[in-house]
């Protein structure tokens, strides 16, 4: 784990102020005062989904995190490079600095002493303890307990320092903590029912912005927290506008009604047009999600490795990326994002060769039947492919693939489902044949993918996880377990390189490309800096400012 103990400022900010040293020397209070003087103007951010869940630990979707990042702070955050930067913690605990014991079992975290909640109460170790315990509370409707469940014996050393033990070493825990927003004990601890609190509609945080108002179905307004301990905010107000229609969203961006177009952003087919709009900057923001066709290995058809190989050979990734996605995302071979330290660059590139695919199938004994569809032992090489109904571009990709597969004698029936059905048991319990889906495999910047690839993560077989393709490989299992206990990045990378190689060979799913979203903002808005390690671009709103 590389640690750069700078303030929570990225390089660009430092260069801009031209006084890097000065800034580092300034007390945080000074920064806060500066921010207070500076804060001016507002930014209107357009989202095509509506943020509604203000409580960062209750079940929510990615758009909600766009708000959480600004109302709250975690102990430390991940920057665009994948490095942890201290936030509420004074420094990121590592083995080197003694924050984490060699075996990964004992943690010690030192907190800032200059932080206050939006309501003026001081922030203390009590709050951190409360937040972790809240996520362990069986009565609390927590979004995820993963990682927190392993924490034992949280001990408050003093107001600004605490320690805990881990039941077992768990390498992804720092990554999990980086999105564990600390919530105020004083506002929540006394609640009779932790699920029903006023906090859900009137959240109190430590973040650069405080909650202003929410007009349901319309917008959320955040106000600058002038006492913010970190950089900024430089804006007085941030408005998150909910515009459910992508066309309207784009139109409003074009007309200037919104300053920033976020989330799914601009549709790829508008890229060229969008670049022509004066005074707008269009940014390609890579996402960590990887689009793939997945096979349910529980289906005998896909247990034949030659079938998977042929299907890969007949998958025209190039056309899909170039034509349907207008070349905006990049083809990939791995499930890890290219930006990750652990990304394996040496994976061989998948070829597109339908003739060879046909040959592979011929050799494997899959021969064309009377209706042109290949058969073997009375089994037709026919399967369904599903995705969320209503995703136009993905539907087009399905149709393109369907056409090529048909040309090699493989019948792929498109059977799309409404989201409620698709991502219910149909997905979780592996009731599909094949699926087209974009998944973020990583846990933040951490490469642990046990949840998706370990044989114990097959929900359909009683496991706990999202190995919905029912992929089982003993060697991969071993490596995953090994990697999950390692805290030294250089060594850990070797393990994950190998995992990526093995999975690439086994092909339980065919990665096509790593998502990239087109986002745009008005020229003159500085600090807009998409981060592949988080799910939303408003992660650093405190740094945004108008030139």
């Amino acid at each position: 784990m590389t640690i750069r103990n700078t303030n929570r400022m990225n390089r660009r900010t430092l260069l801009r102020t031209g006084a890097a040293g000065m800034t580092l020397l300034m007390s945080n209070a000074a920064v806060g005062r500066l921010a207070a003087q500076e804060a001016s103007g507002q930014v209107v951010i357009g989202f095509s989904q509506e943020p509604t869940v203000m409580h960062p630990h209750m079940p929510h979707i990615e758009v909600d995190e766009g708000i959480h990042f600004n109302l709250f702070d975690p102990l430390f955050i991940v920057d665009t490079e994948g490095n942890f930067q201290p936030s509420l913690a004074r420094e990121v605990p590592t083995v080197e600095n003694g924050g984490i014991s060699e075996d990964g079992l004992n943690w010690r975290v030192k907190l800032r002493d200059d932080v206050t909640w939006h309501d003026g109460e001081p922030f203390t170790a009590e709050d951190v303890k409360f937040t972790i315990e809240l996520n362990q509370n069986p009565d609390f409707n927590a979004m995820r307990r993963n990682g927190h469940e392993l924490v034992r014996n949280i001990r408050i050393v003093n107001d600004h320092e605490l320690t805990w033990e881990m039941a077992e070493p768990f390498a992804p825990y720092p990554a999990i903590l980086s999105w564990t927003f600390i919530v105020p004990a004083h506002a929540l601890a006394d609640a009779e029912n932790p699920n029903q609190t006023d906090f859900r509609s009137n959240p109190i945080g430590t973040g650069p912005f405080s909650f202003g108002e929410r007009v349901a179905g319309n917008y959320i307004l955040l106000n600058a927290n002038k006492d913010y301990f970190g950089e900024g905010p430089h804006l007085e107000q941030a408005i998150f506008r909910y515009i459910p229609d992508m066309t309207v969203l784009y139109t409003q961006f074009r007309t200037g009604d919104i300053d920033v177009i976020g989330l799914q952003g601009i549709q790829p087919d508008r890229y060229e047009q969008a670049q022509q709009i004066p005074d707008r900057e269009i940014v390609i923001a890579p996402s960590s999600a990887v689009e793939s066709i997945t096979f349910n290995m529980g289906n005998p058809l896909f247990q034949d490795p030659e079938v998977r190989r042929a299907l890969s050979l007949a998958l025209d990734r190039e056309t899909i990326v170039e034509a349907l996605y207008y070349g905006i995302p990049e083809k990939t071979e791995s499930f890890l994002p290219r930006e990750s330290y652990y990304y394996n660059e040496k994976l061989p590139e998948a070829e597109f060769d339908p003739e060879k695919a046909a040959q592979v199938l011929d050799e494997a004994g899959w021969l064309p039947g009377a209706d042109g569809v290949r058969e073997k032992d009375g089994v037709r090489l026919a399967f369904k492919n599903s995705t969320t109904a209503g995703n136009n571009v993905r539907e087009q990709a399905q149709q393109l693939i369907q056409e090529t597969y048909a040309s090699i004698g493989v019948e792929m029936e498109i059977s799309n489902l409404p989201p409620a059905v698709m991502w219910g048991e149909y997905w979780m319990m592996s009731q599909f044949d094949s699926v087209m889906v974009g998944i973020t495999f990583t846990t933040g910047p951490d490469p642990d993918v046990s949840n998706y690839l370990h044989s114990s993560s097959i929900s359909a077989q009683g496991g706990a996880g999202q190995n919905t393709w029912q992929y089982e490989n003993e060697r991969v299992d071993e490596l995953l377990e090994q990697g999950g206990r390692m805290f030294v990045p250089e060594k850990r990378k070797e393990v994950y390189d190998e995992i990526q190689r093995l999975v690439h060979e086994d092909m339980p799913f065919l990665p096509m490309f790593q998502y990239a979203n087109l986002r745009g903002h008005k020229t003159g808005l500085e600090g807009f800096d998409p981060n592949v390690n988080v799910r939303i671009e408003t992660w650093n709103l405190n740094e945004w400012r108008w030139a």
């Binding site: 509506e50 869940v53 409707n141 179905g217 219910g424 979780m428």
Partner: protein, 316 residues
């Protein structure tokens, strides 16, 4: 009167009960569940999802869930949104203004315009105008509302840039004019179908009344044409229209939903569709119940209004 009200209320309550059972069954018997939206969140697993389901009480037997829901419903506690935890009723009321603004505006538009078109059509029956109005109304009834909205956006927002393409107001500028500007397209689009319906029924209602003996009496009395029209014909022709307005309420609400989705109007319809997309069952159920109550209440009011303006009707 009292007996009428008691009977109608009892009848409405029975219908509401049936409505709630039907709504509840559809929501809960269908495959998929409210938690599927979290499935693709990093680190999620079926086991975690089941834990959430258990905490939310979603794995209890259906009748138990229904009774629980119903017991709360009758105390005006319609549950909380799965998403933001706010009371469903609050959420609905939060979206009510937008919907009411939209449907009231478009109703005023359509009643005014529909009455005019209908009266003129009836007065000049079989004239070129009447023929045109009839054909026009039929075509208007046949245009898909959402498509008409899209075309309107294309023309007036994208091409001409005259009108905003969506939303109810500009944040920061919530002046009357700003609202009006945002209201034009959605209300006109919603009114299109309503004008067609109103003008058709108005025309037929007028012809119905024109054919009645008392209109002849009125003319035989030597009243002016205008007085015959306003005092004798319209007054009578509008009575069935009150009932019609009540009956048309579901159509109006359906139309509002479509319009709201096209123009991203932050009303009940939009809320419904969003909640559906997020499997926010309590809100979906709440909106279903709310619309049903709205319809029932609307019809009750329509009946009372008819009784108020038509001395022949006695409420029994």
């Amino acid at each position: 009167m009292l007996r009428f009200l008691t009977y109608r209320l009892a009848h409405s309550l029975l219908l509401l009960f049936l409505v709630s059972v039907i709504g509840f069954m559809i929501l809960h018997l269908a495959p998929g569940g409210p938690l599927s939206q979290f499935a693709l969140s990093p680190g999620m697993s079926q086991a975690e999802l089941e834990k959430i389901a258990e905490r939310m009480g979603l794995n209890r037997p259906l009748p138990v869930q229904y009774l629980d829901w119903a017991a709360r419903f009758v105390t005006a506690d319609w549950g909380e949104s799965f998403r933001d935890g706010r009371a469903v009723l609050d959420i609905i009321f939060g979206h009510l203004f937008a919907t009411l603004l939209l449907i009231l505006t478009s109703t005023i538009l359509s009643v005014g315009l529909g009455t005019l078109v209908g009266v003129l059509g009836a007065m000049r029956r079989y004239s070129a105008y009447d023929y045109l109005a009839t054909v026009g109304a039929m075509v208007a009834l046949s245009i898909p509302t959402f498509w008409f909205g899209l075309v309107a956006i294309y023309v007036f927002s994208l091409r001409l840039g005259w009108l905003p393409s969506g939303n109810m107001y500009t944040i920061g500028d919530e002046s009357f004019l700003d609202y009006a500007e945002h209201l034009i397209m959605p209300s006109v689009v919603l009114a299109l179908v309503q004008v067609a319906i109103w003008s058709r029924y108005m025309r037929s209602s007028i012809l119905d009344v024109v054919g009645q003996d008392f209109v002849r009496t009125a003319r035989a009395k030597g009243l002016t044409r205008r007085r015959v029209l306003y005092v004798h014909i319209l007054r009578n022709a509008l009575i069935p229209m009150i009932t019609l307005t009540g009956i048309q309420l579901p159509t109006l609400l359906s139309g509002a939903l479509v319009t709201e989705t096209v123009f991203t109007w932050p009303g009940i319809g939009r809320l419904f569709l969003d909640s559906l997309g997020y499997n926010d069952y309590p809100v979906v159920m709440g909106v279903l119940m709310f619309t049903a109550m709205f319809v029932l209440l609307g019809n009750l009011i329509a009946d009372l209004l008819v009784a108020g303006v038509d001395p022949r009707v006695r409420l029994e």
